[in-house]
Amino acid sequence: MQTIEALLLEPVGCLAEFPSAPFHEIAVRLFGRKRKAGSSASQAYWYLLNLIDASKTPFDAEKQSVAEELEVEAVDAASIYEDVEPAVTELKSMGIRLFVASSLSRRAAMRFIERNALGEYFSGVCTRDDAGGVKSTPILNVLASASLPREKTMFLTDTVEGIKVARSVGVNPILMMNDPDEAQRLAMHNPAGGVVSLHEMPDFIRLIAAQNQRS
């Protein structure tokens, strides 16, 4: 792996424990899906993103409002992982550029950042509203607007979809191993690496730099 310069983060599943219900609710109300129970917030979220992606048309004002309200509800109920603040502080001090590349609405993403006082750590925020699409679109938007070299960029994810999306745009998919059983399954999908906690990212990036220096 090349020495890493930037890290792209999707708040759902990587920065906080979100509830799954609001994402299920969006799928029910906007896409007529049946109510699901039992899946994780990340799975519910990426399922919803697939629906949005497949619909090919942007939300009208009414649907946008419904989605935003429920996403904000999810953000308000989310508990940020305790290792996020020390990890992003350290990463920033190492010169790693941090970006939010999220398929959430801008309103929800900004609320998440403000609510958890994370604004100072990010060099940029790109949401589905900014990018005009979900999944790979916000990532591509960040890569282009910040001129990030793809092979020197990581995208942190805890879903198969996230791994595939990162691979498809040429950035390094890094598995966030929140749940051991789920992570075991996801490890079969060939992520570029994996961490148990965000606090391991600084060491991960240092190790790659040291290996490249040695070789």
């Binding site: 792996m1 598995l175 051991p180 490890a187 148990v196 790659i208 040695r214």
Partner: protein, 329 residues
């Protein structure tokens, strides 16, 4: 088995020169009980050049020093430590611990230096998985079967436990390690030498010894008056296996009052885990039958078990109680 070239230097300086020349593709070869298994399993991190230090004089000895302590050459066999009358007389707990390492056959081959600096025995690493220590960027132990050989005290990328017993048993004696380096001799405490998962020369390893440094000896200070020590070990099988939990404990007593102590757990963390909270708790206490239960209450508050290894913490606490009971007997 991976193909290798073997050097046989006759001095430490010559060995360091060879190690410096080949960088991290070379490694010291002494007993070989860890190294040869890594080569056999064709691990990515296994070296291509072996620097056999067995022909170097003055690395295989056990001798009393002028202060009444003992110095042990790093190439001394574990069996020689286990049979040493000098060590039995001065540090019986160390001899007990060495006697519980692996099997008699392996103790005849393994060296003290090798035990202290051995690679972790995670089944995923040894099975050739592309993990942090084997050219990859993921810990399979953290998400797989972590019931035996993985940390219950958190991790730093790699979650394998530090497997050595000698370090766990040497720390209570405040033992120190001497290293030969290209810049001259360097001395570290055992705790400093084995601090757990470290990024050294672009690799993750349990110790801080660099690719061109050689552990030459371990120096144990003279035994303190009034010290009683005990070593306890739980493992899946009676021989051969590594600790699921172990404990080296020493108490410095005046009558029954504990003036100082060292409490070091093995097999539960990426390093020999010195439990300073229990040491602080024990200071000034009277050694009694009830002390074990009280000490358990303050032990290992920072435990962070993985999915299948919370029982290691219970084992470690049980060893603390039994160790204190044994010292009270």
């Amino acid at each position: 088995m991976k193909k290798v070239s073997i050097y046989r230097p006759t001095t430490v300086d010559e060995a360091i020169q060879i190690l410096s020349q080949h960088g991290s593709s070379a490694s010291v070869y002494a007993g070989g009980t860890d190294l040869l298994v890594r080569l056999k399993n064709r691990l990515e991190q296994a070296p291509s050049y072996l620097v056999d230090i067995k022909k170097i004089d003055h690395l295989r000895y056990i001798k009393e020093d002028a202060q009444g302590g003992v110095e042990i050459g790093s190439a001394t066999k574990l069996a020689e430590l286990a049979d040493s009358r000098l060590l039995q007389e001065k540090y019986p707990m160390l001899v007990e611990a060495i006697g519980k390492i692996s099997s008699p056959e392996l103790r005849n081959a393994s060296t003290l230096g090798g035990d202290l600096l051995q690679e972790v025995w995670c089944q995923y690493l040894r099975g050739g998985y592309s993990c942090w220590r084997n050219g990859g960027y993921l810990c399979y132990g953290a998400i797989g079967d972590n019931s035996h050989y993985h940390s219950a005290m958190g991790g730093r990328l790699c979650y394998a436990v530090y497997p050595g017993d000698a370090a766990t048993a040497l720390i209570p004696f405040d033992a120190r390690a001497k290293l030969a380096t290209p810049q001259g001799e360097k001395e570290l405490s055992i705790e400093q030498m084995v601090p757990g998962d470290m990024l050294v020369d672009g690799k993750i390893q349990s110790h801080v010894v660099r690719y061109n440094e050689i552990l030459t000896s371990v120096v144990i200070p003279p035994p303190k008056p009034g010290v009683r020590a005990s070593f306890e070990k739980l493992r899946p099988r009676g021989v051969w296996d590594f600790a699921m939990a172990s404990l080296a404990i020493s108490l410095q007593l005046r009558d029954k009052t504990i003036e100082d102590s060292r409490v070091v757990f093995g097999g539960i963390s990426g390093k020999p885990y010195r439990e300073k909270a229990v040491e602080a708790f024990l200071k000034g206490k009277t050694l009694s039958a009830e002390l074990g239960e009280q000490a358990i209450a303050v032990a290992l508050a920072d435990a962070a078990p993985l999915k299948y290894n919370a029982t290691k913490i219970d084992m470690a606490k049980g060893l603390l109680a039994s160790g204190l009971a044994r010292l009270n007997a």
